[in-house]
């Protein structure tokens, strides 16, 4: 479903020179599986997921989603993914219903099917009350719900969630985690990035721990536990990454 091979993304920075945000990472994820990217802020998770969702182009390496290459066939890839991140905001001057409808139409869904699907999503995500609320008037949780509905409206086989629980209260976050688990059970291939251990531990079938653009360890959570002889994921994480610079001094 998702195949990432030797992915590199580097930027030109005026002050720093060449800066490699993603440094030769490779992984794959299958349908019915949640793949977790775990790493501190600035580890390169967002950059990697932006490349997967065709918003950025890789410097080198290949990414294939459902067999389509993100650099040469971005249009095909976009039809098969639902992408949601902290940076995919909702429009201020559109209501929840209009926003989801707009993207549904961009995906080419015929009206009847689209509306059927939207009713279902709005019901399932508990968004009926905010149906006619403008984006500008929504709370963070409401906006997140709209984003999820937007990412799911075309029922994509691959879902990419970049820190979806960021800034949400525990109730909404919990509901979201449940939803993601449900989606997995429906056979979606899901990539999920976070820096919150508990979520990853609870959700992910496979985990990759990232720091400074590199994948340090990869496997199922149990595999990692036995491999490093560390039963606690949080301890394992610190063991791999080392003491974060900055706070230590």
């Amino acid at each position: 479903m998702i195949h990432v091979r030797d992915l590199v993304k580097s930027y030109d920075d005026l002050q720093l020179g060449k800066f490699t945000a993603v440094d030769h990472i490779s992984f794959y994820a299958m349908p019915g599986e949640i793949f977790g990217l775990l790493g501190p802020n600035g580890a390169g998770k967002t950059t990697a997921l932006r490349i997967l969702s065709t918003v950025l182009e890789p410097t080198s390496g290949t990414v294939k989603i459902s067999g389509y290459d993100v650099t040469t066939e971005p249009a095909m890839v976009r039809h098969r993914i639902g992408f949601m991140s902290a940076n995919t905001a909702v429009y201020d001057r559109m209501t929840a219903w209009e926003m989801v409808e707009y993207f549904g139409r961009l995906y080419g869904l015929p009206d009847e099917e689209l509306h059927e699907r939207m009713e279902e999503l709005f019901h399932r995500l508990g968004m009926r009350e905010i149906r006619d609320v403008l984006g500008a008037k929504m709370s963070t949780g409401m906006k997140q719900k709209v984003s999820i509905a937007r990412a799911l409206v075309h029922d994509p086989p691959v879902l990419i969630f970049d820190e979806p629980t960021l800034g949400l209260d525990v109730f909404v976050a919990r509901a979201l985690v449940q939803l993601i688990a449900e989606l997995r059970d429906q056979g979606k291939c899901i990539i999920f990035s976070s820096h919150i251990m508990r979520e990853v531990e609870k959700l992910c079938d496979k985990v990759a721990i990232m720091n400074r653009g590199k994948i340090l360890a990869e496997g199922t959570i149990d595999e990692l536990r036995t491999q490093y002889g560390q039963p606690d994921l949080e301890e394992l994480f610190f063991h791999l990454i080392g003491e974060p610079d900055g706070i230590a001094n």
Partner: protein, 773 residues
């Protein structure tokens, strides 16, 4: 492109803008309110202006002849039985002088000596806040009255005559105005005086007005002054309102979307970048057109109802009525391409901006850059011609002006070039906008602290084997600017006959070609690129390059007759000015003293090497990073054309530049391009020396040349050979086109992208049924 998506995006953007109160106000509220308010203000200010009567003192009223009347006096009885006399200019006099303002006149009857007035005038004017003084010197009345019996005193000389004086201070605005008005009044009075004197002497008054000039206007339709005025001010209105009307929505639609974080949402949706650009462009255009139309309507309304009320001198001169209906139609038609052009420009610039704030900074420079193009059609003595029709923005204004003036024949002649140029500009702007949308460093760039040293270090550190497109563009501008910047130093000296002598000509050509073209590009390549050989495509030991040289030479020969036809065609349609022809002739006069090999070296070999290094070397290699082979070739060809300076040479040069660029790209080497250029130039010069005389000396030319005259450059080739040449050119171009060009990384990407099938199948299959909670 899926037009459903474009429509969808357009509808969303329009609704989005309609929900934004600020945009609505600036598009609809402002124009509707602005002009009536401005009109009202003008009205009020005018009232202020009229409330100030001119303060005037008349000195020496006794010296004024009684007839004809200059002043009317009214006597008022005061309460204490004294009488005050107030004076005003005679009513009829004011009417015939066309002066409407009021005067506050003080009068001193006594006759005063001229020297006294001269000494005290300045102080009086300043101390008593007067605007003007009229002084009648002693003896004036006597003299005037003597004319009524002129035949008696004919022998009197004209010197030392007492004449009235108008004393004002022109540095003072009001005094200056008073002077103009009083001059008109005194002039009318003088006319009256002359008439009166003539009558007194029994001379028929007609002799001062022996005839009046009859006029006959042969135009079908009298020039509608009001539509003429609109045609003049239209460019301003359109540029300012179409541009600002496009700019603010553009900023909100692009930079604003970046700021609010919704751009990434949109980019991860299946809408293609070109669809996003098209949708946004149409939305911006709608606003641009709406703003302009509303402004025009509001201006027309204000002109009719408010300006009419102002009355007086102003309105009569301006004739600022509403535009005639039929000219409004033309106005609206011309508005669409102009709005499209400005919208595309605004879109590209707004995409470049990181934030709305940054975007707003770009508006003023854009307006300023357009200003010269807008001012040109308003200048007197400029009209629609082939030359002016090729200037972007100006051409459209010229076309509109011509249409509004009713000169349909001329408008129809230049309709095509104007539209072609405008369409080309729109296409470039749209391409630019799409490229901006494909450029992630533009879409995701964050504000960085700018530091010149760090930037220079980065430029040095990130040097590529070949120059960057921006570097190539800057180089092109530098090459165009250098001759102008240094013209004072390199302009050759002419000898006494205004001719350029051979040594000066050689020196000029060498400095121009080597110093101003070859040297800058070689130095820039050494500094800003990692590989000089790659930058200039100096590839010789290569099958394609080696094969390319003879092919290029053959192609240049085959195209030679057509190059001549092209030159002739352009010479006919845009004739060179007399002045320019003379200057060129004087420049080339020096060639007569040079041996033939030197002429070829200087006009064929030298430019071929220098100009090719610059245009097909530096500029073309840089532009190929754009990702579109033909865009790179076209841009380098345009620079090549502009490098020739004279329009009549630039156009054929740009067209042949396309061919040379094609040869260079396909053969992957600069040498075939140099060969083509060299042969092409040589043949043009060789053709120039064929006259009846040379034909006699070289009889073998008879097979080649069919007609010839004594004038050089008029020989015509054998049409049979020309047909063969055409065939040969097609074959050679076909062979060259089949050569595999070496594509840049960017070009390969664009190829791959354009080959991707767009996925427009029906909705994805539902395998999982409807999920329910």
């Amino acid at each position: 492109m899926n037009w459903d998506n474009v429509k969808l995006i357009l509808k969303r953007e329009l609704r989005d803008q309609a929900r934004d109160r600020r945009t609505l106000f600036s598009v609809i509220g402002l124009p509707v309110l602005l002009y009536p308010l401005m009109g009202l203000m003008v009205l009020n200010v005018m009232q202020f202006r009229q409330a100030h009567p001119t303060r005037l003192r008349v000195i020496g009223l006794v010296e004024l002849p009684s007839t004809p009347q200059l002043f009317e006096s009214t006597v008022e009885k005061n309460e204490d039985d004294t009488e005050t006399t107030t004076y005003q200019f005679a009513e009829e006099l004011l009417k015939s002088a066309g002066v409407t303002s009021r005067f506050n006149i003080e009068v001193s009857e006594a006759s005063v000596d001229a020297t006294v007035v001269e000494q005290t005038a300045r102080e009086t004017l300043e101390a008593e806040k007067l605007d003007a003084i009229i002084y009648f010197p002693p003896g004036f009345r006597e003299r005037m009255e003597s004319f009524q019996n002129a035949r008696k005193n004919q022998e009197e000389g004209a010197e030392g005559l007492p004449a009235p004086q108008l004393i004002t201070k022109s540095s003072d605005e009001r005094s200056k105005l008073a002077e103009n008005r009083l001059k008109q009044i005194l002039h009318s009075w003088r006319e009256n005086l002359i008439q009166f004197n003539l009558e007194a002497n029994d001379v028929p008054s007609q002799i001062t007005d022996p005839f009046s000039i009859g006029t006959l206007d042969l135009s079908d339709k009298p020039l509608d002054t009001s539509s003429y005025l609109w045609a003049k001010i239209f460019p301003f209105i359109v540029v300012i309102w179409a541009l600002t009307g496009a700019f603010y929505p553009a900023i909100d639609l692009c930079a604003g979307e970046k700021e609010r974080g919704t751009l990434e949402t949109l980019l991860s949706s299946p809408a293609l970048r070109s669809e996003i650009v098209a949708g946004k462009l149409l939305a911006i255009m709608t606003f641009s057109i709406a703003t302009s139309v509303l402004n025009l309507m509001s201006m027309g309304f204000t002109a009719t109802f408010v300006m009419g009320q102002v009355g007086g001198e102003m309105a009569g001169k301006l004739n600022f009525g509403p535009p005639p209906i039929w000219s409004l139609g033309w106005l609206f038609l011309a508005l669409i391409p102009m709005a499209a052009l400005f919208s595309a420009l605004a879109l590209a610039i707004a995409t470049m901006a990181r934030s709305s704030k940054e975007g707003q900074y770009y508006l003023l420079p854009l307006l300023m850059l357009n200003l010269p193009l807008v001012v040109l059609p308003v200048l007197p003595d400029t009209e629609l011609s082939f030359g002016t029709s090729l200037i972007p923005v100006s051409g459209m204004s010229f076309l509109l002006k011509t249409l509004m003036e009713g000169d349909y024949a001329r408008a129809a002649t230049y309709f095509v070039p104007v539209l072609a140029v405008t369409a080309f500009c729109i296409w470039i702007a749209i391409r630019w906008a799409i490229d901006q949308f494909n450029n992630e460093s533009v879409l995701f760039r964050e504000s960085e602290r700018f530091n010149l040293k760090a930037w220079l270090r980065k430029v040095w550190r990130d040097r590529q084997p070949t120059p960057s497109p921006a570097g190539a563009f800057v180089m092109g501008i530098v090459l165009l600017a250098l001759p102008h910047a240094l013209s004072g130093y390199i302009q050759p000296e002419l000898n006494g006959d205004g001719q350029l002598e051979a040594p000066q000509l050689v020196r000029y050509m060498l400095t121009n070609q080597i110093g101003l073209i070859l040297l800058p590009v070689v130095v820039a390549a050494l500094i800003f690129t990692r590989s000089v050989t790659k930058t200039f495509q100096l590839r010789l030991a290569d099958r394609q390059a080696l094969l390319g040289i003879p092919l290029a030479i053959a192609l240049a020969i085959c195209l030679h007759p057509f190059a001549l036809y092209l030159r002739m065609l352009i010479q006919k349609s845009i004739p060179m000015s007399q002045d320019l022809q003379e200057r060129l002739a004087s420049m080339l006069g020096g060639t007569a003293d040079l041996p033939i090999w030197a002429i070829f070296a200087m006009f064929a070999v030298l430019p071929a090497i220098c100009e090719e290094f610059a245009c097909r070397g530096f500029i073309l290699s840089g532009m190929r990073h754009l990702g579109h082979k033909w865009a790179a070739i076209s841009i380098s060809a345009i620079f090549f054309g502009m490098l020739h300076g004279i329009l009549q040479q630039s156009i054929p040069a740009a067209i042949f530049g396309l061919m040379i660029g094609f040869v260079a790209v396909q053969c992957r080497s600069l040498f075939p391009a140099i060969a083509f250029h060299m042969v092409h130039n040589s043949l043009v010069f060789a053709h120039g020396v064929i006259t009846t005389e040379t034909m006699k000396e070289h009889p073998w030319l008879n097979g080649l040349v069919w007609w010839v005259s004594d004038m050089p450059g008029e020989a015509g080739y054998n049409p049979f050979l020309v047909a063969i040449a055409a065939l040969g050119a097609v074959v050679i171009v076909g062979v060259i086109a089949r050569m595999p060009a070496e594509l840049s990384v960017e070009e390969r990407r664009q190829m791959a992208l354009s080959h991707q099938g767009t996925y427009r199948a029906s909705a994805p299959k539902r395998e999982d049924g409807s999920p329910s909670t």
